[in-house]
Symmetry: C2
Subunit: 490 residues, 2 copies
């Protein structure tokens, strides 16, 4: 086991180093450093990959004699990683890297010029390579399974599609009903919020919910993210808008939620590939729980609003708790995913999930994608993009070859409520605790049931063990109906 | 050549990545991240070392068919690196790493408790291992040659000792004469300098002398340094003292001088081990030139003083240019190297150089080191440390195993004047240019004669080609005598 672990530590250190370099690129790197930086990251990632698929690694895994449950999991899960990695020819990886490099440039051009045909041939190539990738990986039922599995291990297209359909049939009419209700006033969040005070307030609350700043920190970046350099160094970034409270504050809670997951992994997994979130969906469940289920709850603001008022007297002295609570929860169907509210967000995801599958299955051609996008957007959300830049060209993900990635966002929303409900069963006075600014029991529950396991348990296993059921649409839909029904008087 | 270059690029990228991780450790890393970070850096450095000494690298170097002067240099110099690296058994490297890890802890304890005996056995072990290291590397004349060569390739103990003796015989009486002259008033640099304004002023001047911020940036750290992640990303750090102008400002010029060297390397050397300063002495010549020969000159302040006055009206509105010029050039023999002025600094270095050699040769025992240190300090500088924490325990370097490193500081001072004199021959109105805030011709001269070469030419070769002579004491001594003779009226 020792030789194996040393080898896995090297692989882990190479990937962690790459993460530091990528973090620096987004936060502090001078613009002239980009070209050399991308080569450095490529070298680190390539060397990690080569070590993983090396024959010696396979030999050590086969010969390993684990004498603990944790070591057994390590051998089992890394063996699976190796098998998958070895299935994909390096020529395909290189082709994908080259194609996505070009596609990204074409996408930027297409979006800024609102010119889908510029991007179309690149997108065709990306989908083509993704199908090849799926064939190389193999699947039981359909190619999309293999793509989804890269981001959400163990999830199947059928399972996800069934759950999403469940959500959609109730959510579309619910969104319509909200659209007919009296709109809420968003005004209070669009006042003047001095940037330095936003920073302080966000960090104070992030620390309060349990983000450990001895093992983390926040910096600025154009696109907020969280990243882990080790279990003991997990960072977040934020962006600040002077006249908009939400992006920095809820962004900080969101990223802190991701970071607290990684900070809570069992330290004995450090230096192994298991010291990571088990899936993107489970990761998103943690960020969304702190951002929405806690951070956008009335209980939270009963605790936090007095501090907010004293931090932002100019913006909030004449605003009531109720007015503020409504402002941060206003539902407003929009064509842009990243601006979507808690209720409509999942519809943006489901749209992408369906179109990805139809593309993979050849039922929608690339040239017909913009119309398909716009029609579905209009029928589900009641809004139609004015142009493709606001429609099918809005996301970078497809240009990067990330097909099968989007659904994890919605899975995270669904799981967050299932886990929160389970936590509430174990902590019957959870709302009271939140109202009192006490978050340690909730965090402790998450540590026990989710965080500590790292990749030792899949998302489905974690859900099963902690909620007694599998992924389901009902809890999230109930939560949305109850919360927003009350807010909108439906 | 291509396969060789790809391999060398990997080695380079691993070392560059390690540099990013070390920079982050000193600037932004949360305290809890230290343990994992040191393991990550160790992995990157080990993998770079293993690739360098790998048989395949040696084979590729032998088989290489360079078709340009630059490629010939690459093969020649890297072959020499490989030969040296392969001479040192990895067991010795591991022993040194372990011993210096312990010695560093013991040194910290000894210094804070002013208790040399706590450090003594560790220092003995370090010197013992350094002698083994020298024997493994081999040398022509004496073991110290091999140690010195690690930092100052091509320099010999004899050459350095002869030059240092030349300096010492004139410098000691000159320092004594200054001690008997009327002291200058340092007051103006010890007033209130708001930190944000120090930052702005320092960066303005760093950019003005030619530090390229599209390919660099400054951050804060406890101990200022410069570091290169590629030719296109070379960074510096500084520290700020509210009531002391010198550390941040001259520190920034110093580090910018180092950084401009690395920024000026021929871009075609990127991704090779030649994209680095050729020696620590040559590196220091660049930092000291901008810090002292430019930054502490009267010509520079004729240009910069009006800006300084308007940036720091509180501190400087009632100070004249002459008073300021004297304040930044006050000579004050002290026991502490890092606080030493331009005149006395070299004596601190020569003291360490002599003692290192005497230790290696067994002429001074570790237990007698404190007394030897204090006696020499008193006889050369006229000051005697009150205790060992201010004497032999003041520097971290020996605990890290860096024997042969100190002399490069003084070599840098000497070379800086030799190069500056040569530049002035080519740019007869150099002082006038500096007085007008024009630094691009000086920087251009340094780019041509020093920077662009990277490691393609040794320090001795650069000196020879640009000054027509080898390392010499005279120019520096003449410079000091002229500048400080005028200031002190000697």
């Amino acid at each position: 086991m020792d030789t194996l672990k040393q080898r896995l530590a090297r692989i882990t250190h190479l990937n962690q180093a790459a993460a530091v370099l990528e973090w620096d690129q987004e936060t502090y790197m001078p613009e002239g450093g980009a070209e050399a930086r991308s080569q450095q990251v490529a070298t680190l990632r390539s060397m990690a990959h080569e070590l993983l698929i090396d024959d010696e690694t396979a030999r050590l895994l086969e010969a390993a004699q684990p004498d603990s449950a944790s070591d057994s999991d390590l051998v089992r899960i890394v063996s699976r990683d190796v098998q998958k990695a070895r299935k994909v020819p390096s020529s395909l990886i290189a082709e994908m890297a080259e194609a996505s490099g070009r596609a990204k440039g074409a996408w930027q051009k297409a979006r800024s010029g609102n010119d889908f045909p510029v991007f179309a041939p690149h997108l065709e190539r990306i989908f083509d390579l993704c199908i090849q990738h799926a064939e190389a990986l193999g699947y039981e039922d359909q190619p999309y399974d293999a793509l989804l599995d890269q981001y959400e291990e163990g999830a199947t297209t059928k399972q996800v599609a069934a759950v999403f359909d469940d959500v959609k049939k109730d959510l579309v009419p619910f969104v319509e009903a909200i659209g007919q209700a009296k709109p809420l006033c968003e005004g209070p969040v669009h006042r003047e919020y001095p940037e330095a005070d936003q920073w302080t307030f966000g960090m104070e609350m992030a620390e309060r919910i349990g983000y450990d700043l001895k093992h983390g920190r926040q910096d600025r970046s154009a696109h907020p993210f969280s990243t882990s350099f080790s279990i003991s160094d997990v960072r977040i970034t934020t962006r600040l808008e002077k006249r908009f409270f939400n992006p920095a504050f809820f962004g900080t809670l969101h990223e802190a939620g991701h970071a607290m997951y990684e900070q809570g992994i069992d330290p004995s997994l450090e230096g192994t590939p298991l010291a990571d979130g088990t899936s993107l969906g489970m990761h998103e469940s943690q960020s969304r729980m702190w951002e929405n289920l806690v951070g956008r709850s009335r209980a939270f603001w009963e605790f936090a609003f007095p501090t907010a008022q004293s931090t932002f007297p100019g913006a909030l002295s004449d605003v009531s708790l109720d007015q503020f609570y409504q402002a941060i929860n206003a539902v407003m169907p929009s064509t842009i995913r990243v601006e979507a509210d808690e209720v409509t967000y999942n519809l943006h995801i489901m749209l992408r999930f369906e179109l990805e599958q139809e593309m993979i299955a050849g039922r929608v051609a690339v040239k017909d994608l913009p119309a398909a996008w716009n029609d579905r957007m209009e029928s589900w959300l009641g809004v139609r993009p004015e142009n493709d830049a606001e429609g099918v060209l809005q996301d970078i993900h497809w240009s990067l070859g990330a097909i099968g990635y989007f659904p994890t966002y919605a899975l995270g929303n669904l799981m967050s409520v299932q886990l929160f409900d389970a936590a509430r069963k174990d902590l019957p006075d959870l709302d009271e605790q939140i109202r009192g600014g006490q978050f340690s029991n909730l965090l402790g529950w998450l540590r026990t049931h989710v965080h500590q396991w790292g990749r030792r348990r899949t998302a489905n296993e974690i859900l099963g063990a902690s909620t007694g059921e599998g992924l389901a649409a009902g809890p999230w839909m109930d939560y949305v109906r109850e919360k927003f029904g009350a807010i909108y008087g439906l």
